[in-house]
């Protein structure tokens, strides 16, 4: 990855998704931006001149390649430093035919720009100190966000709330560390600058904050990748049919043969702005089939990872002993307080009425559905949304980035050692090593500490055009 800043060369990329669309947007950034626009763009307004045109405004006109008109477009101008990259930027909105996109892109290249590499616009914004690393990472998340929650999360981080919090925690520690160092520097004189009780209080505060943040990682991660919902149950109770009903499309292979779903099938769907990742699983039963057993094993794995579990039973075949057995299994599952279990009584289409012996099921807030006829599927959707709202998605700051999570955990580890060693009366110069280590990790989150791995990590992630 090499970025040539010295000449402030001008880069260009398609900022909208490739392919045909109603419109497409090309973004140009760098010193020659306006020179290039001036060569290819003729504004409708006679008063328009590129040097005087107001920033952050769109201008209507046409793109010309020599004397040949290519398209009618809107050009939006952003003057440095008040732009995304901190450089002069122009965004050209053209009609979205692939041909026009390609011609326009080629025309701009011809006039002195070069294609941007992945993440280069954001990299430049970062280089011009338009935002810090955590914010840059948030931009990547924002682009990737596909639901209300991922979007909210990214917006929060992009605004800098997370960076502010980390910087604040770190500053408190820096202040204390410098008092400790001062004590060491003047160890021969009768001084103790750093109030130990004050320090324990500070450590406690930082640890609490870090814990909130690291705990939120699970939530944050769930939001980013979708809330995992596992559909489990005995073979042939209609799990795949239910999944299809929910997804409203034929994703899983449905058949009458028990054990058809041998692997785990996943798909995501957005319900009321929440992203759910459904996991269809192989039916739970004792089997001689090696492949099926592997599938069953994987099912248990998936149950572990899921936040919500739909336990599906076949009402028609669920009678007497087998009903008791099923309920017992279900009850053993719901001991796990970290997961939300919903019992789904399927195949009501095969019943005339809900039989009395299922009254116990009713107490467990069972949802009775017909997956085949897509009856009452909406009830499942409602229930899912309700249980998601119980998750703490509205916390101020949620950690959603694995790099941040790792750094926070390392910092917490170091601080734990600091407190333990202080209480055990270890010499402060040794304790200072762990304090420095904690400072290092906290600083690496926002980029206050620059290391090579950090830089490499960040900017490769962006799609070209951002």
């Amino acid at each position: 990855m090499h970025f040539d800043f010295q000449n402030n060369d001008t880069i260009c990329a398609l900022s909208t998704a490739p392919g045909m669309a109603a419109i497409a947007v090309l973004r140009i950034s760098g010193e020659k931006t306006f020179e290039i626009v001036n060569k290819v763009f003729r504004a409708k307004s006679k008063h328009f001149s590129i040097d005087n045109a107001q920033s952050h405004k769109a201008w209507f006109g046409s793109i010309f390649d020599g004397e040949e008109m290519l398209d009618e477009v809107l050009v939006t101008i952003f003057r440095k430093p008040h732009s995304y990259t901190g450089e002069d930027i122009a965004e050209i909105s053209c009609h979205g035919s692939v041909y026009i996109q390609q011609q326009l892109f080629g025309l701009i290249m011809k006039n002195g720009a070069r294609p941007a590499t992945a993440g280069e616009f954001t990299m430049r914004g970062f280089a011009h100190q338009r935002f810090d690393l955590a914010q840059a990472e948030a931009v990547a998340d924002l682009i990737a966000s596909n639901s209300k929650t991922t979007h909210e999360l990214a917006i929060k981080q992009m605004r800098g709330g997370f960076s502010d919090k980390i910087s604040m925690l770190r500053q408190g520690l820096v202040d204390f560390a410098s008092l400790i160092e001062l004590e060491l520097d003047f160890a021969e004189e009768d001084v103790e600058f750093a109030d130990r009780n004050e320090f324990y209080r500070l450590l406690h505060e930082i640890q609490t904050e870090i814990k909130v943040l690291t705990d939120s990682f699970q939530t944050g991660n769930v939001i980013k990748t979708g809330i995992p919902v596992a559909i489990i149950g005995k073979p042939n109770v209609g799990k795949s049919t239910l999944l299809n009903a929910i997804l409203n499309e034929e994703k899983a292979i449905v058949s009458e043969i028990p054990g058809t779903t041998r692997d785990v099938i996943e798909d995501t769907i957005i319900i009321e702005g929440y992203n759910f990742r459904f996991i269809d699983t192989a039916g739970l039963r004792d089997s001689e089939d090696i492949i099926e057993n592997m599938g069953i094993e994987r099912t248990y794995e998936k149950i572990k990872q899921a936040s919500i579990i739909l336990y599906v039973c076949d009402l028609a075949s669920c009678k007497g002993e087998s009903a008791e057995e099923m309920l017992e299994e279900f009850r053993s599952f719901i001991q796990d307080e970290n997961k939300h279990f919903i019992l789904i009584g399927n195949k009501i289409d095969m019943m005339d009425e809900i039989p009395g012996h299922f009254s116990e099921m009713v107490e467990l807030e069972t949802i009775f559905v017909s997956a085949k006829r897509k009856e009452n599927i909406q009830l499942i959707a409602d229930s899912l949304v309700k249980s998601v709202k119980k998750l703490n998605l509205n916390a101020d700051t949620i950690v959603s980035n694995a790099r941040h999570y790792h750094a926070l955990s390392k910092a917490s580890e170091a601080l734990h050692a600091v407190e333990k060693n202080f209480r055990e009366g270890l010499p402060t110069d040794l304790i200072a090593i762990d304090i420095r280590s904690a400072l290092h990790y906290l600083g690496s989150i926002t980029g206050q500490i620059v290391t090579e791995e950090l830089l490499q990590n960040i900017f490769g992630k962006f799609c070209i055009g951002k």
Partner: protein, 622 residues
Amino acid sequence: MLFENYDVIVVGAGHAGSEAAAAAANLGSKVLLITMNLQTIAQMSCNPAMGGIAKGQIVREIDAMGGYSGIVTDKTMIQFRMLNKSKGPAMWSPRAQSDRVMFSNEWRRKLEMTTNVDFWQDTVVGLLVKDKRVIGVKTGMGLEINSKSVVLTNGTFLNGIIHIGEKSFGGGRMGDKASTGITEQLVELGFRSDRMKTGTPVRIDGRSINFEKLIEQKGDDEPGGFSYFEQPKLKQQRSCWIAYTSLKVHETLRTGFHLSPMFSGRIEGIGPRYCPSIEDKIDRFAGKDSHQLFVEPEGWDTIEYYLNGFSSSLPDYVQVKALRQIEGFENAKIFRPGYAIEYDFFPPEQLFHTLETKLINNLYFAGQINGTTGYEEAAAQGLMAGINAHLKVREQDPLILGRAEAYIGVLIDDLITKGVDEPYRMFTSRAEYRILLRQDNADARLTEKSFKLGLASKERMDLFVTKQEKIMILIEMLRSVSVDPNAVNGYLESSGTSLITAKQKLANLLLRPQLSLTGLLEFLPSELKSITSGYDKAVLESTEIILKYEGYIEKEKEMADKLARLEDVKLKLEFDYHSLQSLSYEAREKLSEIKPSTLGQASRISGISPSDISVLAIFLGR
């Protein structure tokens, strides 16, 4: 011709100049040492002590490289203490009181015994410069002496002004003339110069001190030393004493504040925050009722005492009046009052890591001329300037020590990268990797390097190799020998630590803070014990530290390696930072001025933000 063409001329024979001359000469350069007074070589102008926290480590490093400060101190000390023994090994710092006169005499003897060093008593008033290269010096006697390089170690002498109350007069030190001409010429050549200030306290007639009212501070029961060469251990030592100021003393001092050159603004130089005058301390820590003072003897058989902590430039009669209000000093007579001295220095950002100036080739600066304070800091710079002047003349690669390698590396990198805004003194907090830069392992860090250069002698190298071998053997033993619970539990119980139920390696037991290496050595099988019985204290000390603090040492090594990657990214000295528009304006200015040689150095320049470093890193394609 009165003089030959020298390889190196060293101007000034203080701690920096003496080490510079010795190092260059021992490497094989023809050296001329010029000083205004050959009777005061390596004079201890301030307190008669070497070492202390972080400074002691520096002296050990100088010794490990083959400099003389450690050996001279060992020969002339009257008291030795290892400071901070209750702290971790990074903080253990040797400190010695020296006999002031013997110290100076011993240094002169050392230099006289160094072949290749010539002496000349004179004042240097200017440099001979041709095509941006120094080619010699001009002296007060009107001589021009040629050389291939010049090391300036002018201390406090450049346009020095001494202040006592309202009185002030020119001088480089009490009793010595100031030196003029050099600053003016350098400024004309384009150098930036500025003023700094330092001070020294009163010297007292010991016969007038009532020691019964003071607290005695004895030397260590088993005194050590600075040099890795075995020195005869002190058989007797002289004590220091502790006294305290009081509110009454402070009040008296305050009556003289309006006459103080500091408060009246007559001194423009920046004073040391870390070694402040007593009036500064009273002013700044107004809430403190009492300050600690150390009463230090100036030699074996002198009645002169140095009052450490009472540095002052107040009028002499105010100093004496306040002194006599301190318990134990009611009848004190003094030899001379404390005074402040103001002098020229050259902001050290104008130097390369070799201490060569960026403006004039083959010209080196070392010591207080670079804005530092302290004999140890000066000596370290002198050593490095002497080495690098020699290497430059011989057209060899320079010697630069890293921050993870030596306090000397930290010192020089700090100076040339961050500059100084007050007299610079070394602290352990300035080092990122404190536990790697210990006083016990300076030889492991530096001796081989210096030997390869041709400075550390064969004898020193052999001594080092033998020591390392013994340490390795001992570590191996401790890691492989296990002890039985029955054998060792008695010792564990008496040491107040928990008993073991299964066999354990001795190295594991050594991790317990309550247990010591000497205690555990008793549990070696007798055939091994006989091998280790001849191992000296230094071997045991290093082995114990390496094993006991292994976790911490490894942690810092890991951090140092991580950040070393930024140190490995070289920057071009003549790079046009102004062309990097993405850098902040301040960053462009600072980088252009300081011309860092690595990305790591750039990151330590004040005013350079992490995002500036990111820009540089990205620019370099990392």
